[in-house]
Symmetry: C2
Subunit: 108 residues, 2 copies
DNA sequence: GAGAGGGTTCGAAAGCCTTCGAACCAGGAT
DNA sequence: ATCCTGGTTCGAAGGCTTTCGAACCCTCTC
């Protein structure tokens, strides 16, 4: 299983990043990744099917929000905190802190 | 011309706000509003038709990002900076500062 | 080599988004 | 009253999103 392609830091686009973050399922994934260094897809606990989860992870990866690397039989996902901070200072932190407030209820 | 409905501060939803900000045309509108206290729709200079502009302004308004009030024959739009800051501290600022970097080229 | 586990890809369905022009509405000016 | 101006609403077209199950691919283990 090869490591999938990722955009370079200077290729990150604000609209794409914001769009990737505008979905409740993906926000939940980002929240799960925050604080954890790396997580396997199966540890994200998203309430969707395997194929849908794979799709959401691809959206996050293509937007430059997460990094995915192959590790044996599974894939480990982590936040590209530093790259995001370099391109859009403060954005990820403000999104993550805003997440606490009244998002959980609609992630059902 | 009546003032259209706006969501209350405690009704703002993060995914909706991020989605509203994920469109290049709307980001351009937000940038134009930043720094100006109030602008008429026609002063926003968005490269779209009247009806499309009206639609984008509605999306921003419904997400709680802008405030629209009737003033004679026209409508004045402004950013709800304080409400956004109260709900999602730092978000608007980080988006606006990230806007400078490489967004203009794709707003064609 | 055969299997099992973890993810991806394919194809399809349903819904939402963006965009436009045409028609409309409301205030102000003539 | 009539018209002009600035915006909204309607209806429609086209594209993109989200979602799923089925089939597939890798890698590790037996």
């Amino acid at each position: 299983m090869r490591t999938p392609p990722h955009p370079a830091q200077d290729e990150l686009e604000l609209p794409q990043v914001l769009h990737a973050l505008s979905d409740p399922v993906r926000l939940e994934i980002v929240r799960a990744l925050d604080g954890a260094s790396e997580l396997a897809c199966s540890c994200l606990g998203a309430p969707v099917s395997k194929s849908t989860l794979s799709h959401h992870l691809k959206v996050l990866r293509d937007a430059g929000i997460t990094w995915t690397r192959a590790e044996g039989t599974q894939r480990l996902v982590s936040l590209r905190t530093d790259d995001l901070e370099a391109c859009f200072p403060g954005l990820l932190r403000s999104v993550l802190s805003g997440l606490g407030r009244g998002v959980a209820r609609q992630v059902v």
